[in-house]
Symmetry: C2
Subunit: 398 residues, 2 copies
């Protein structure tokens, strides 16, 4: 299944509209995921999208494959040293002003490559950060994109149910995680998931049981997991799963480039009362959040509201990680990457819009004991939301 042509045209038109609004003459797209989003292909090269007119995808390799996949005109990149001349020749309009303004993805583009562009393009070029321009264009999903996420959600549910039937006392986190990943991969999971943030990585999520799930982590989420070594300090460890402890299954997969993110809490036997209370609060938060999931709600208010509920429940220090290791958000956009806009956090004043897809993940961390919580992914619709996650809620008792 390839990206429909009208979809690519619409994406480019939306980016161009923003360019015109912001006085930008053109966007130089360099990152693989952004290239795929705007062309339908992910080969090595750079796409130039002028504020007006037809874009070009300059490809180094593989030109053949790019020509098959891209809905944007493909041309050979040719000599990189001539790239400035190539661009100026193709886009006289964009370079017509005495001080052309070009945007590129400062959030991901490495300094070395950026400095080459600065060297090669006309010295009059004024470079600006196009990260938000690109990320905001990608923030609102089409029906085509939502269809892929919906498919990924079905796989996540199947993997969860399979894991629930497979899990047993004494099995290690890693054994259960291996099984989940195998289930995903056999069904068409791409084998990698993508994060945009510098140094951020994600595996297929994690099985995190008891104390191992509650270990502090660099990972930009409420629970990262102990991991197998300090070299990849996240996800599942070799800890055996015990009865009576919370088992967090925070799992995701990548279908046709699109990711899903969902969490369920399992327990072999009975969870103790304090953890059950915390779990119940996570469900209460997600229900209260759902009431606000509709066009116009300001993203950050959902975080404030959740934080208020955690405080009222006396669990503020445990909310979204413990104490100094807490993260300060309630959820995040998902799409081609797992860390998309909008973030449900202070400073993100976006009003929700139809087409946004957001993972909401209230969780509570108890050092030495475990993490409990729930995470659903939602599509914002014209009138409210559609829950894309189809898995059953509540503690899943084994």
């Amino acid at each position: 299944m390839s990206v429909p042509q009208h979809e690519i045209q619409d994406r480019i038109a939306r980016l161009q509209h923003k360019c015109v609004e912001q006085g930008i003459d053109g966007c130089l797209i360099t990152q693989n995921v952004d290239l795929y989003y705007f062309t339908g292909s992910m080969q090595t090269g750079y796409a130039f999208i002028p504020a007006q007119g037809e874009p070009v995808y300059f490809v180094r390799r593989s030109l053949t494959r790019a020509a098959q996949e891209s809905h944007v005109r493909v041309e050979p990149l040719g000599s990189f040293r001539q790239f400035g001349e190539t661009l100026a020749a193709h886009f006289p309009h964009a370079f017509a002003s005495t001080r052309p303004v070009l945007a590129t993805e400062f959030d991901v583009l490495p300094v070395q490559l950026y400095q080459r562009f600065v060297e090669l393009l006309p010295p009059s070029t004024q470079w600006v950060d196009g990260s938000m321009l690109v990320r905001e264009t990608r923030m609102v999903k089409s029906a085509y994109e939502v269809a892929a996420i919906r498919k990924a959600a079905q796989l996540a549910d199947a993997a969860l149910e399979d894991a629930a039937s497979y899990i047993c006392e004494g099995m290690t986190e890693l054994e259960l995680m291996s099984r989940i990943e195998y289930t995903f991969r056999m069904q068409g999971h791409h084998g990698i998931m993508r994060m945009r943030g510098y140094n951020q990585e994600i595996i297929t999520g994690m099985v995190g049981s008891g104390a191992a799930a509650a270990e502090p982590s660099y990972f930009d989420g409420p629970a990262g997991g102990r991991g197998l070594s300090a070299a990849v300090p996240q996800s599942s460890s070799r800890k055996p799963i015990a009865a009576g402890e919370p088992i967090l299954l925070d799992i995701g997969c990548n279908i046709e480039g699109y990711v899903i993110d969902q969490t369920r809490t399992l327990c072999i036997g009975k969870l103790d009362a304090a953890l059950q209370t915390a779990y119940n609060l996570s469900e209460a938060i997600i229900r209260r959040t759902e009431e606000q999931l509709k066009p116009g709600t300001i993203a950050e208010t959902l975080y404030f509201q959740a934080l208020e509920m955690a405080k009222e429940g006396g669990l503020e220090a445990h909310f979204m990680g413990f104490a100094a290791d807490q993260v300060k958000f309630l959820g995040h956009g998902i799409g081609l990457e797992i860390d998309e806009l909008p973030v449900l956090a202070r400073g993100f004043a976006y009003p929700l819009q139809p087409g946004m897809v957001i993972a909401v993940e209230p969780k509570f961390t108890f050092p030495g004991r475990g993490v409990v919580g729930i995470e659903n992914s939602y599509l914002i619709t014209d009138t409210g939301f559609e829950k894309l996650t189809i898995s059953r809620e509540g503690i899943i008792t084994i």
Copy 2:
């Protein structure tokens, strides 16, 4: 297993030696893999390594975990806005000159974060690209590092033999790949492998059969594979494996941060004569290469020699990809990342040194028919080499 303390001290001493030689006052280490290499921990933060004296790892999150793992002194990052003052206060010597020279990883550091550093640090700072400094320090491996790679090589062999016993006609590439990944993961593979190059990604390698293996690819290797969709255009596809076609198992795993990379060619039944001849040439190239795998050999000469052999065999157009989609190298260093130094390619004039670990991968691509070849990983020793790859050679006939 954590990185031994003396190991970290040695790495820092080698970097500092290079800094002094190159007139650099200090290195600001920002990338997760480099942080792990120089501290033993991979939490969110930045390490400052002065040309002389003790480094500090400034950590945002998780401070607790960094303090447990790091052999470098850990301090809270505190307010990022004050980072310039923090550094100047900790490292008066490095900032003593009127024009302190600081190196950082321009090959991976995004422009946005770099601009923040430029803003926050003294305006007199002269920033230089420290990529090669860091990569050259990491190029020579210790016994500790080689031990992890050796372990990964054993797992790769076990996964290969398991795959050879499991494979059958009609099975899809994806089914076999899922099985290989499951085998790896159960044995402690971290679930991700790392590449340093911008936009480069790798899964666990690939099962590539017949025409699917030979499809052109952006992937920076001789064969990338068809993949499941244009969104992740590499690795295995849903193509069923047929008898009589070459099946490339280019697989790797990540053990305690360290990767292995090996390739074997399999065939259900008999391979046709032309492909067998090409395979034989790949083995002849690897044997000739082995004769030169010893201290003092200049890295690029191994590529030239292999290219010459491909020409003599009349297979130049098929060597390391086909025609316009060829890559221009014979091998690459491996370690914490799969694309390390030295590269066996034009322009890499490094003399081989004891401790280098290099994957050598002569392969031949036949569009519509498949890819044949072999890939072994080698350690350069004082007198020659040790083959780290332990798998049997020759076409593996099923």
